[in-house]
């Protein structure tokens, strides 16, 4: 297994992202992003990514700030956020365990991993452990089927997993 190299997410509590402002560094990045496209609207996805990296999730306050900066309706931005699966609209745990549940992974033993995860963590899909360390999600094909079964932890892929390797991985994610 690839050595564990995943950084925990820095998740900002809801009260602190009820209203957000872009600092100078973020403004600089926004201007760079806007240069790439002929319309402001095209910057929606890149800006949302930037915000999620900064604050750990995508709160209504963040959606409002993005909408205001790009001169769009907040409802439009919310529509975009909720269409895509990767913008987290609830604060997640420090580690997002995204288990691929599509065919190739299932053929190679995903259900064993899922049972193991649910039992060890005591949570179901869509839930977060009480200590805020792990959030468990079922996701569709991650596009690395040759190395099935796969779990994406935050930004990183962990491949060819077995329950033993998984235990080792979970132990190291602190």
């Amino acid at each position: 297994m690839t050595p564990v190299h995943t950084e925990p997410l820095q998740v900002t509590p809801p009260a602190e992202v009820a209203e957000v402002h872009f600092d100078d560094d973020m403004e600089k990045r926004i201007r760079e992003i806007l240069k790439r496209y002929p319309t402001k609207q095209a910057a929606v996805l890149p800006l949302l990514w930037m915000c999620q990296e900064r604050w750990g999730w995508t709160s209504p306050g963040i959606m409002n700030a993005v909408a205001e900066r790009l001169e769009l309706a907040p409802a439009f931005v919310e529509g975009v956020v909720t269409f895509y699966t990767m913008y987290q609209t609830e604060p997640p745990g420090k580690y997002l365990l995204q288990v691929c549940t599509t065919l190739s992974c299932q053929l190679c033993g995903t259900s064993g991993l899922v049972d193991h995860l649910k039992e060890r963590l005591g949570i179901d899909f869509g839930e977060t452990t009480r200590d805020g360390r792990f959030t468990l999600l079922d996701v569709q094909c991650l596009g690395a089927c040759g190395e099935a079964p796969i779990i994406q932890v935050n930004n990183d892929y962990y491949t060819e997993l077995t329950p033993e390797k998984l235990d080792q991985l979970l132990d190291e994610l602190v």
Binding site: Q41, L48, F83, Y84, T85, Y87, S104, D138, Q140, C145
Partner: protein, 437 residues
């Protein structure tokens, strides 16, 4: 066959521009710049290169649809959304040789007179997006990108645009909507993107593997490319093999190799010595084929003749232990989750079909269920929806029933009727959950 697209596999630092240059990289670009853009389009057309994203449409012909007299700016988009279950070849190209892709993008952009290009990459590929950003920065430094490339007077800017988790954005018009900052809802065609694409301008969308072939065609000629594979199915192809084989992975082989050769010779045969039951030849949307079709040649036309499609080249192999009702339920879960919700037949049909198959597998199937599934497949495919996602989930339904209908019947015969509720149970979006019956 000598490796072409994966020639740098195994090289140390294969991703760096210095390795790429050492292997002769960016030579095709220099050659392309002394050619007329029309001549490049002609060369690619003559090579017979067919799009590697799934549809198999001739790439040179697609480029030819761009109105060259249009005063609007033109755009090239590289489709690196790679979301079709069973497909993982574009990721391999990006990991092994990102500069080959970038060189292909520059040549293609020059051929259609585009000055801006985007790589649309799926959101989950964070590492791959980083690899591309780094390679692009190297290419800018060496003046292969930017203003006045190699003092030719041609300008091109290339940007990575990350998706955020939506299978549908691999469909080219949904992808365009997504770049424009919207929900990824496919557009009605015509107009085709070549005429009205991103930001209302002429746009070509090509798959990663298609673009990676381009430098080789320019460097070694259309005739050389066409000599690989079979007539109308030319060139090397990356096959991604997953499921029950000993050595799953990405294999570069000429089009026309048989599925038996792929499974037995290249992938080391079936895992645990089990017998082959079925295989999906081109990503999950391709109709499933039973084991007796394993001698079919893996090219666009032969697979179509066998009743499926080569699609993206994602070969999913299933052995004798696989319950086909379970497998169809798994695939339908995917499509019900990924339907964008725009067209009623697809949005409702995918959910209802999943509901019915799930009911069958839980032992509550009804005699009329198979007919119901067939009816859904009829109503949601073949032009009943804006984009091919309707066909993508109906193909599996029809083919699973055609080839493995007896397994569905066996479940239904053994079923215990579920208590009928007074009100119909509306399908619930899958994802978080299931609903019991």
């Amino acid at each position: 066959m000598e490796p072409i697209l994966l020639r740098a596999r195994g090289e140390t630092n294969s991703r760096s521009i210095s390795t790429y240059l050492r292997l002769g990289g960016y030579g095709a670009l220099k050659k392309a710049f002394i050619m007329d853009p029309a001549a490049i389009r002609e060369e690619v057309k003559n090579s017979g290169l067919r799009g590697r994203g799934g549809a198999g449409f001739p790439a040179g012909v697609k480029w030819g649809f761009v109105p060259q007299d249009s005063p609007k700016p033109k755009y090239l988009i590289c489709n690196a959304d790679e979301s079709e279950p069973g497909t993982f070849k574009d990721r391999e190209i990006i990991h092994v040789d990102p500069h080959m892709l970038i060189e292909g993008i520059i040549i293609a952009s020059y051929a259609i007179s585009a000055n801006t290009a985007y790589i649309y990459i799926r959101g989950e590929f964070v590492e791959e997006a980083r690899i591309l950003e780094q390679a692009i920065a190297e290419a800018y430094k060496k003046k292969y990108l930017g203003k006045n490339i190699l003092t030719t007077g041609y300008d091109l800017d290339l940007y990575v645009h990350r998706g955020a988790g939506a299978y549908i954005c691999g469909e080219e018009t949904a992808l365009i909507e997504s770049i424009e900052g919207k929900r990824g809802l496919p557009r009605l065609k015509p107009p085709f993107p070549a005429v009205v694409g991103v930001f209302g301008c002429p746009t070509v969308v090509n798959n990663v593997e298609t673009l990676a072939c381009v430098p080789h065609i320019i460097e070694r000629g259309a005739a050389w490319f066409a000599s690989i594979g079979r007539p109308r199915n030319t060139g090397p192809k990356l096959f991604c093999v997953s499921g029950h084989v000993n050595r799953p992975g990405v294999y570069e082989l000429p089009l026309g190799v048989t599925f038996r050769e792929i499974i037995e010779e290249h992938c080391g045969g079936m895992r645990d010595g089990k017998a082959l039951k079925a295989f999906i030849p081109g990503g999950s949307s391709a109709p499933v084929l039973p084991a007796d079709k394993v001698d079919t040649a893996a090219d666009f036309d032969a697979v179509a003749e066998a009743g499926s499609m080569l699609g993206s080249g994602g070969l999913i192999v299933m052995d004798e232990t696989v319950d086909m009702v379970w497998a169809l339920e798994n695939l339908l879960t995917f499509y019900a989750h990924e339907s964008c919700g725009q067209c009623t037949p697809c949005r409702e049909g995918s959910d209802w079909a999943l509901d019915v198959v799930r009911r069958i597998r839980r032992g509550h199937g009804r005699p009329e269920d198979i007919e119901t599934l067939q009816r859904i497949a009829r109503y949601a495919s073949q032009g009943m929806t804006i984009c091919p996602l309707g066909d993508a989930f109906c193909g599996p339904i029809t083919s699973f029933l055609n080839h493995f209908g007896h397994e569905f019947e066996a479940y239904i015969e053994a079923a215990t009727p579920a208590p009928r509720k007074k009100l119909p149970i509306l399908p619930v979006r899958s994802g978080r959950g299931t609903f019991g019956l």
